[in-house]
Amino acid sequence: MSVTPDASRQPATAARDSGVEQASRFEAVIGLEVHVELNTATKMFCGCAIDFGGAPNVRTCPVCLGQPGSLPMINAKAVESAIRLG
């Protein structure tokens, strides 16, 4: 998204004005990082259940702990949801 400086919203002091003049030579580009919680039953790369409010590390397995030798396996539902979101 691009933003064009709006002069009417700037403070009217001289010092600030020169700041606004300088700033107006730049184009602001604002990125939005959107986090979405998917309604999957399990984690992205392992079969551990998604379940909030438990004791620490109770929903863990060799895969999500990154134990030596373990391999991730991607969640089909999560991929489908990501595609649906576009």
């Binding site: 999957t40 590390n57 109770v58 863990t60 397995c61 060799p62 702990l65 396996m73 991607i74 089909a76």
Partner: protein, 97 residues
């Protein structure tokens, strides 16, 4: 291909290995030799040759979204060098204000 000791230190930092000065010096020569040999890959395979990451390509390998049993609570941290109350203990990450 000849690496400097600064190159080696930079890579060691990226790899999170606290090398001794002696190791840095030894690796400088060894890595230079090995990379000079590996450089031969540049002699063949023009940019139009597609790279192969896996020799047996498989597509769309997924897992059903069905919960599987997790580890018993005491096993998750059983392998940890330091654990406390079911948590992995590490040195302080956030500085005191």
């Amino acid at each position: 291909m000849s690496l400097t000791t600064d190159d080696v230190r930079h890579v060691a930092r990226l790899a999170r290995i606290a090398l001794s000065d002696q190791e840095v010096e030894a690796l400088r020569g060894e890595l230079s030799d090995i990379l000079a040999y590996a450089d031969k890959v540049g002699e063949v395979a023009a940019a139009d040759v597609p790279p192969t990451s896996h020799a047996y390509p498989l597509r769309n390998v997924y897992r059903d979204d069905t919960p599987q049993p997790s580890l018993p609570a005491d096993e998750a941290t059983a392998t940890a060098p330091q654990a406390e109350q079911g948590r992995f203990r590490v040195p302080r990450i956030v500085e005191e204000p």
